[in-house]
Symmetry: D2
């Protein structure tokens, strides 16, 4: 059994990692850290884990951590992650980092959207952890930068059509909606039940969300040239789930292409990407608690636009599920190990 | 007191009409019809009205109805409405029709999206009941076609900027999200609690929703030329509320314009349109139960697009509230009569 | 117009007071205090009030407050209230206190459940603000102690049958369920959307909730002797609403009595208490946003128990609505002024 | 691999069975029936199963069914079940029946609460499928009557203390709250999203719910004498989950007993019953999607009552999860096979 540690176990992605790892056939969760809850049982922080995960949250220095596990998930905020990851690597550990710190390949871009980077040398080594695009690189990586939730839903939907050159890249508009777990588990008035329930709003409107450079980086690689997008995130009154509705103008060739065939072929062997049959639309409910990404699409023949819809569970395929998928690849485990569960409905 | 009737009182818009009229200072609700619930008290259908509205649902021929009230709200499905409205007008009554039957000015367009029209002569007479655009015409109307919910949210947001010619009309993308009351009160599996709660999906993707011709009719009038839009509706797990996120490329002039000033000036005297201060974003929660439309906007300077966000209560300003506002204008009542209530929060 | 102030305007009960007062025909809201949001517009704290309530939150000493209004609602936590109320009274103001500080008549009981009382002399003067029980006393009061939310739902349901002596007082079990607004608007992990949505739990189980002495005080007065109850509060994933399910063994006389007649007679003239017809059950949805209390009941003939069910909006009749009703009585306004609105549905 | 069939696969319990069986290591789902959806893929009925369960719904006679699988779950309404189960048994199949048809041992009681029974001879053979009480009998059974959802939550909570004789059996009051999936997946106005969301109500108040005889049957066996309870079900605005709050007066001995020790000892080896530590309370969220039952308790020393709180997922341990647990026992599989998953949170 691989000994695994979660650094930053008391957030929602930490809870989901613990849930998945609790029944993973190849790993043993041996250490969980949390500054805030140090000394408390993890199952006191998350009572769903009672009698399922028997660990006490600890607040450990990286050196101590290194002796406790061989593989780490860093589920801490950006900036905090880059203070930990280099030491873990230096100690010979493998890491899936769920923060944004190693997702952006270009240090300047990272520093423009975030802050200065303290281990830029690792940006080249880190592999962007979207298995559908970088499976082979992930298999050989020491450090995988687990993608952001919005980018996962967007890149999986746009990559095939951008590669095929069937849309005009300058016309992409992305309207994304996320469940509240994406906002994290910190005490705040803005995320109280009464502030979100029975409501809906946009936020960071006008090109301000930090997932934009990550989205554009990967879309540009797919398109073979710079791509800029308008991206608007919204906050849904649900706990788990992202739906991205993506608009782009089809090229004349794209207007005639068999898009279902294109997508089906691209993702045929993927265990976690499901291309919906023409006429069907995805719903967040159908991927909740799973590692699936469901993609639907329609042409708007009146306006010549393609409308892609893509759903994931933001803390599943959008965070912890994908992180475990990456670990499976890095360790040579079966890719679906621990992730075979079907979405629960209702 | 004006004697008022609701035809089709057992749906959600009927319930909201009854709620508003119950405390309206100038009217008395004298008749409510429902085929399905004929013979039952309206307060048995909607227990919130118990001891507040004392009427029994009836199933009456139009001739009988005409003797019972002087003003009618027809809250029945399209096609049904056009079987009732001409007779009510012939009997000398005034009507606000909440169906789609008299919203589309061009018979051909109506018949393309709906079905054949049995009283096309009234299409010319009917006034599109958006007071912010057609206040004077409404005041003199016998028949007001109450706008659709999505169109209300979209037209109020886009009209000022289209009139000013500051966006490229061919670039408009509308991503709308509606609460479940918009789906009506018929028994169906698709709208069960368990099918919608904790979920989110798009529907009628690809230019199929019947509100499109209505939106395009009014946007084209504002732009002074034909406008086509891509419009995608989504279903939110909330009861009341619509948020439309609207994208369009700014003209060079638009990129420099003071949009806040433009919108503020346009809607300065409007009692129900609230232009949010720069940097603020609307939420459905802030208009729930009210007749308000809140509009926010941001420029995405990276891509040159404008992003408008507009919220209404879909059965308030999007249906019954607006219907009462229209009645107030048609009858010479204070425009805010019965509609002064502030949104309830939380 | 009566000049009215809200002390502690930034909580949910403050928001609801502002909402109700915004359309109250006899009052003008002239001052709103908040330590946390001092200097911010109240409509920035609660955007639903934008262009409806034009006040800036202030942090004022009581002396300053006294010059700004003639009637005050103290919507601050217990203990804080008793530091303000005596000064307001001394300045000749009338006060409805929404805290628990003046609800308990017996200083010892208060001090056992809360903490030491700094103005015990006012306990005798303060009137318990349940108009259905103490209407005449409220009319003449300077200081009204607005009842707790749970107690309101419980006392209105049990008072008639206890007065009639038809249940065995020692057998009362109260199982209450409250919406999340009852937990207040402070930043906390426990009340985040993700912690409450799609979940349900009990809290303060086993006779620990501070509303118990208040409930027992009033039930004992009704019964003419000491009454002890088992009371269990629960947290519902809704914003507004309390439902109390109340169990008690009927006396032999009670088993034969016409309870519907008893309740109907008791509350016949009450504007805000609605006794449901036999066979009907109340729902929180039917009182949401209103000042109503709906009461249903059934006998369990197999076990000889009465089952009462009582619903209110916890920040309506359970807090701010009732506070305005009390103000109306204290000022000689129409009792329904500002409170005529019917519950919104859906 | 055991070939398994689901009869009545298109309801919520059918969906949950399919979800669990999809990853069960010892079985293969070979047939799924549905009258309403015959001819449609099960994954069209439940898109969460897309590319996970590859079956078409069929409408088959029992004889045909018998050739398709060796083990059956009957997830059809009561009365329908008794028309199918005897034939399946006659064909040599084993059956877990999720309906009420074989839960009540006394034919007269069954017929009083339901309707006449067409295979009363099987009532004696059928084993009540609560493994914590009847594990050995289940192992040898051909026909297991899967318990009702409410009874599961109640019986697991009350059985240890009734057996120990520490409460007065005549004082039991059960206040239960269930999520909406318990109401099934039929089209109905009462269960529409807008009718349940942001609301709460009781139903079948006063000793009318059909789970009462089932509860009383098992409690009476535990107590060693007839037990009658007052039971009130309520409808929660959540999809999954039941919380039962149970009140009973402690005997003098019970008042002194170490209840935590008693419960802990009783359920020590149970894989799915979790006794919470003193001071902790269960939440439906912590068992959602799992097969767990969490039990908490407090004494109300002021009134001498015990307050038990018990949560399950109503379609997990309350239906389909428990059905699979029973199958595991009947087939000699590991009891946790397919059921090891931890509740998802949030």
């Amino acid at each position: 059994m691989l000994k695994v540690g979660i650094i930053g176990a008391s957030g929602y992605t930490g809870a989901e990692l613990a849930r998945i790892l609790a029944t993973h056939p190849k790993v043993k969760l041996t250490v969980a850290t949390s500054r805030q809850y140090a000394g408390q049982k993890l199952s006191d922080v998350f009572p769903s884990l009672y009698k399922r995960v028997d660990l006490v949250c600890e607040n450990l220095a990286v050196e101590e951590l290194a002796s406790r596990a061989d593989f780490f998930f860093t589920a801490v905020p950006h900036k905090t992650a880059m203070g930990i990851v280099p030491q873990l690597l230096a100690a010979g550990k493998k890491v899936v980092d769920l923060s944004a710190d190693y997702r952006i390949r270009d240090q300047k871009v990272y520093e423009k959207w975030y802050q200065s980077h303290s281990s830029p040398e690792l940006l080249k080594e880190a592999v962007y952890g979207l298995p559908e695009l970088y499976r082979e690189e992930i298999k050989g990586a020491r450090l995988v930068a687990n993608p952001g939730c919005y980018p996962t839903s967007v890149i999986l939907a746009l990559n095939p059509i951008l590669r095929a050159g069937l849309i005009e890249a300058g016309t992409i508009v992305i309207d994304s909606k996320s469940g509240a777990s994406g906002a994290g588990r910190s005490a705040s008035v803005a995320n109280l039940y009464c502030e979100l329930a029975d409501s809906f709003r946009a936020y960071k409107v006008g090109g301000k969300h930090r997932h934009i450079p990550e989205i554009e980086q990967e879309l540009s690689l797919a398109a073979g040239g710079p791509v800029r997008v308008t991206f608007t995130p919204h906050l849904l009154p649900i706990s788990r789930g992202i739906l991205s509705t993506i608009y782009a103008t089809l090229t004349p060739e794209g207007a005639k292409a068999d898009l279902f065939a294109l997508y089906n072929k691209t993702y045929k062997k993927e265990p976690f990407v499901r291309i919906l049959e023409p006429g069907k639309q995805p719903a967040t409910q159908n991927v909740r608690g799973s590692n699936c990404c469901d993609i639907g699409f329609e042409r708007d023949r009146r306006t010549g636009r393609l409308v892609l819809t893509s759903v994931i569970d933001n803390i599943g395929k959008g965070a912890s599920g994908q992180a475990v998928q990456n670990m499976n690849l890095m360790q040579g485990f079966a890719e679906k190990a621990g992730l075979a569960g079907t979405a629960f409905f209702p």
